[in-house]
């Protein structure tokens, strides 16, 4: 450091710059990548200032571990779990659930599969939630009772079943107010009928199959 | 005299490496396909970096174990990273 260290000052300016980039990113994955850049720049500055131990910690914990943990957190939290009935879903739509991801994706080009109304609905949902960086994950259930119970126990965020009487072919019930608002703004009412139920926390934790009626505090129809 | 020559050779290698860095990285902000940029980045980040390290090795041979290790890890990790990036980015495009 004998001959001045003005270049360290110059490179230190990159640190607030990249930090600003991290906080201004809307997409969580972009922000993860930018977090990696921030970590790399921080490690560089720490070493240039002579703090080798701090730099090593930044690289190992701050960059590697933080990115791994955040990536897992973002991937598992930014998801809408949509409960469906097993026999209402066409076979090839079920293959896009995460358990089978990576195999059978070639089936999706099948014309018959695309024409199926459920797949059309799913495509609409995916494009709508992509704007909010949410993935849509299908969770199949065997019968309507199990499906309803899963919604009340907060295993899933919404259910989608065939509508029996309404004009729209499908009926989507969600327990999350925000999802209801997004869906109401983004989907046309003749494609789907939207419901919102309020599930209280107490009811979700002490759920008894007998008292379904007391759990449904308020139900609105759109 | 020999000191001057080794110093010059070292600087020449470092200058070559920095030139390769600039050349390879200059394609990054352009509108090209990802794989094309991977090709040019492999020029800058693998070959350019190796040239810089060799230059340092010639200039200051006292830290050779570290620099040899750096060359190894640079060559292996960056090459495999290029393969992984190419594989992962193309897997989403075509399913065949």
């Amino acid at each position: 450091m004998s001959n001045g260290s003005f270049y360290i000052d110059a490179i230190a300016l990159l640190l607030p710059l990249s930090a600003a980039m991290v906080v201004t990113q809307a997409n969580p994955y972009y922000s993860l990548i930018t977090r990696g850049i921030l970590g790399a720049v921080a490690a560089l500055i720490y070493t240039l200032l002579g703090a080798a131990d701090v730099a090593l910690t930044e690289a190992l914990v701050g960059t590697l571990l933080a990115i791994a943990l955040y990536a897992v957190a973002v991937r598992s939290s930014l998801v809408m779990r949509l409960g469906v009935l097993q026999d209402e879903v066409p076979k090839n739509a079920a293959t896009s659930t995460p358990d089978h991801a990576g195999e059978g994706t070639g089936n999706r080009t099948d014309d018959e599969a695309i024409a199926h109304p459920f797949n059309q609905l799913l495509t609409e949902l995916r494009t709508l939630f992509n704007q909010y960086h949410l993935r849509v994950e299908l969770v199949p259930y065997d019968n309507p009772q199990l499906l309803h119970q899963a919604l009340l126990q907060k295993d899933i965020h919404a259910t989608c079943v065939h509508a029996s009487i309404a004009a729209a072919p499908y009926q989507l019930t969600t327990r999350v107010r925000r999802l209801y608002e997004i869906l109401q703004a983004g989907l046309s009412p003749d494609l789907i009928q939207l419901n919102h139920v309020t599930v209280s926390d107490a009811a979700a934790s002490h759920y008894q199959p007998s008292d379904i009626g007391s759990v449904l505090v308020g139900e609105e129809k759109s | 005299m020999t000191e001057n020559i080794t110093s010059f050779v070292g600087y020449a290698f470092i200058a070559l490496g920095i030139f390769l860095w600039f050349w390879g990285t200059s394609f990054l902000p352009r509108k090209r396909s990802l794989l094309f940029k991977l090709h040019t980045l492999s020029v800058s980040d693998i070959l350019g970096s190796i040239a810089i390290i060799i230059g340092l090795l010639v200039k200051l041979p006292s830290e050779w174990p570290l620099l040899i290790l750096a060359i190894f890890s640079l060559a292996i990790w960056n090459t495999i990273l290029g393969y992984v990036l190419a594989y992962c980015s193309s897997a989403g495009v075509d399913h065949e």
């Binding site: - | 090709h39 693998i46 070959l47």
Partner: protein
Amino acid sequence: MIGHLILRLTLWFLLTSDFSLANITIGVAVALLLPRSYTSPEVWEDWLKALWKVVAVIPTAYMEAFEMILHPHHHEEIVMERVHPRRTPGLVFLDVFLITFTPKTIAIKHHKYGWYKVHRLHKGDDSCTRT
């Protein structure tokens, strides 16, 4: 077995560059204690050939880099390349390394039986008019 040990000890001594008794003991202990997976015994001839190829690929890589700098390469294509079918994972790794290390080619996918999907750059026609 012995190859693993040599590799780990080499890395350890390059990293520490300290030949005191304590350091050698620590290095040998760590190299022995780290878990290793069982790999089928590889053919030494193949390994020597591969090692020679690794040394030979470095000048080729620099040559290709300078070709790319002097004559702009605009055309990209994806070709299937056949490499000698060898099954051990180490040699597959080496093949991928050799293909990707040269800047004009990048291995994209490894199929079974020695086929690789390779992305390759070559000189475009418009580069002739420019030079």
